[in-house]
């Protein structure tokens, strides 16, 4: 199942040994850099580092294959949509038009458009490894602690990590309920008409909500009975203390971030233009 594929993968690697907070900070810097820049040189540089770190983490590609394919499909759709809605975007950005061939009306294929969409794709490829790594190399117990460390209130941090943790349980409930409903003839498969399927899905959602509410009541009572929310702060059993490697990693990524911003903006444009 998709969510199980996005769960923590136990390995012994330099990436795993970093504290969760470090990985979160690096991830945030990394994605800001990738979002800000359209400079192909910067993107290529970030991409190479991303891939290298991914390789360092010893996470096998097939462990994250499902999610990766999902993102790639989304990326493809995104590219198609960009072309459909603005086929001349590249031309207006780079100011030249090298037409490769015409299709119809304003739809032609230009080198500029291809280059622009290549940059967009590259941005994805810079962020994907960083995002995946943060998720699969941070132990779930440490997740909330990391959020808290970068300044998120511990109540919110805990809510997020509990929500993530309950997804498998809720999936299990969903399965049980849908099996019970199928036995009574509620069909969710393709054999049924679309509208009926939607209606049938609702008859699974109501019991799912009720049983999830039960679950929430129990856990919130349990937490309150053990003093959750008593103080403004709390400590974390499984937080990893910052070590030298953490400081170095953060320092290096801040440098990379600053450099990439400088290179991107020094000539007044976020784009690198090879057509001039």
């Amino acid at each position: 199942m998709a969510v199980e594929m996005l769960s923590y993968i136990e390995k012994n690697s330099p990436v795993h040994r970093l504290s969760g907070a470090t990985k979160l900070i690096v991830f945030l810097l990394w994605s800001s850099a990738a979002m800000l820049t359209y400079d192909t040189r910067v993107l290529l540089f970030l991409f190479v580092i991303s891939i290298t770190i991914f390789w360092l983490s010893k996470v096998a590609l097939r462990d994250v294959a499902f999610v990766l394919i999902f993102i790639l499909i989304f990326l493809l759709l995104n590219n198609i949509a960009i072309y459909l809605f603005s086929p001349q975007e590249g031309v207006s950005i780079y100011g030249t038009s090298h037409v490769l061939f015409e299709i119809a009306g304003r739809y032609n294929v230009t080198l500029e458009q291809l280059f622009y969409q290549f940059n967009i794709t590259l941005k994805y490829f810079v962020v994907i490894p960083a995002a995946l790594l943060f998720i699969v190399t941070t132990h779930p117990s440490e997740f909330a602690a990391s959020l808290n460390r970068i300044g998120v209130s511990y109540k919110i941090a805990y809510a997020v990590s509990l929500a993530l943790r309950y997804i498998p349980d809720i999936q299990r409930d969903f399965r049980t309920i849908s099996q019970a409903q199928q036995a009574r003839g509620i069909d969710l498969s393709r054999n049924e008409k679309f509208f009926t399927r939607i209606k049938n899905a609702i008859s699974i959602i109501l019991p799912l909500i009720l049983s999830s509410l039960d679950r929430i009541e129990v856990i919130s009572n349990a937490m309150e009975l053990r003093g959750f929310g008593k103080k403004k702060k709390r400590t974390w059993y499984s937080a990893k203390p910052f070590r030298r490697s953490d400081y170095i990693t953060i320092f290096v990524s801040v440098i990379i971030f600053i450099l990439s911003v400088i290179i991107t903006f020094y000539d007044g444009s976020r784009f690198y233009n090879p057509f001039l």
Binding site: I177, A180, A183, R184, D214, R226, S238
Partner: protein, 570 residues
Amino acid sequence: MSRPIIRFKDFTFKYRSQKEPTLKNINLTIHEGEKVLIVGPSGSGKSTLAHCINGLVPFAYEGDITGSLTINNEETKELDIFSISKYVGTVLQDPDGQFIGLSVGEDIAFSLENDCVEQQEMKEQVVDISKLIDMENKLHASLHELSGGQKQRVSLGGVMVDDVDILLFDEPLANLDPATGKHAIELIHDIQQQMNKTVIIIEHRLEDVLHCPVDRVIVINDGEIVSDTTPDELLSSTVLESSNIREPLYVKALKYAGCQITPELRPSHIDTLKIDQCKEKVLAWYESSEQQKPIKKTAPILSMENVSFGYRDGESTIKNVSFSIDQGEIVSIVGKNGAGKSTLAKLICGFEKVDTGKIYYHDQEITNDTIHDRAEKIGIVMQNPNHMISKHMIFDEVSLGLVTRGVPEAEIKQRVEDTLKICGLYPFRNWPISALSFGQKKRVTIASILVLEPEVIILDEPTAGQDFKHYTEIMEFLLELNKRGITILMVTHDMHLMLEYTPRAIVIADGQIIADRSAVEVLTDHELVEQANLKETSLFTLALRAGIDEPIEFVNRFIAYDREVRKIWP
């Protein structure tokens, strides 16, 4: 007498959403170091009483309080839930639901984290506590890998880390298999003895808790304390019967035999019981009661042949299982938590597909039939009614299966009404389901399956969380269905249920059938009981101690007699 630690004085509590108070005029004092059991039927207010002690009432569940409740001489309504949690540690009934951490160590540490204890110190304290609960080698284990008993230990550790004075157990036996339940009771006893804690146990399974000595038993019914005395005194009275709480079976047997139960007999445990004065009467009763006829064989209705199954490749949850159920039988499937009982039920209904082997219904192979096809022959009732109910009104819920099958409206109405009558729900047919009690909801789910007219019904823990009265109601109802020719299979942890209602039991351990014989034989076979985490029945021990040559037959006769007597119940 030692110092009073909890004191209710003229205490009344009404939930904000309710008209009538749930607890009425409670006067109760619990002393330091005492071990107190609180029993009562569902809806009696015993859980509310527990919530008052741990502060969930009034801080999480709001309402109106009159009178006073003091813990350590402090008025609780003037404290807050966090201060109360420093005195009272609560172990909730469902260990899975109350785990907050992911690993053993993290969960034990939760309360320390909230107290801002530094990491180093926290780790040391967690190690200390884990030694106490015998889990020091499992600190890094994920909670999902633990057995039921280990989970209970961890949840105990999580509250003990606060060094509370009072330990409150809210239905600790509810989700445990019988042997694990027994260990849990022993663990609670050991901790109380070692640490001199005050222990309060809320349970309705009296016999199981009395496995270890208890200082006092408090009986609650309709929000009032109806008895507050020692177990020996209580068992000698008629309070239990009038409050719908099941007496220990051996006590019941002694009563049937005409013995006068007195505190001097020490009836609170089968081993302390002074049987000599009763021996003759028990023997005489045994001689006079009727011998039970063996049940006639009929044609097989459901059978499995060499079925194997695993949720993942290379893993097998069910290993080469074969059995056959005859038409009109009632059979229980028993065994440890995680032995594969529920999986077996899912395979029969087609929720999961077998890896190898075949399933037959009558003579017809149904191995590859879909869930939908099988549902008309074999119905399944889930343990949690909330997993099945998807409509607001009873009539709509019960008719759902027929509507989706395109049955004509007139016929639906007829069939639903007939089913509701059988299930005793006809008067409520236009009610919203949310207005029903848990037991009634369970009936609605049974009705919604029954309406499809299956010949076999499988029930997963049909009586979990039910008190004695509802238990008897549900089981008698199932028996009624059985007399109409429906074959019934039950997955259960309840040894009483198995003994009383299912002549035959299939015992599963590690995905294999290790026994398939009469329930009485299973529960009197010491080796089997050990292997499958079951619990021997106290009736058997009683028969042995009374010197009856055929103890198994004694158990048989008791069951038959008891059921006759209970049928006459109002």
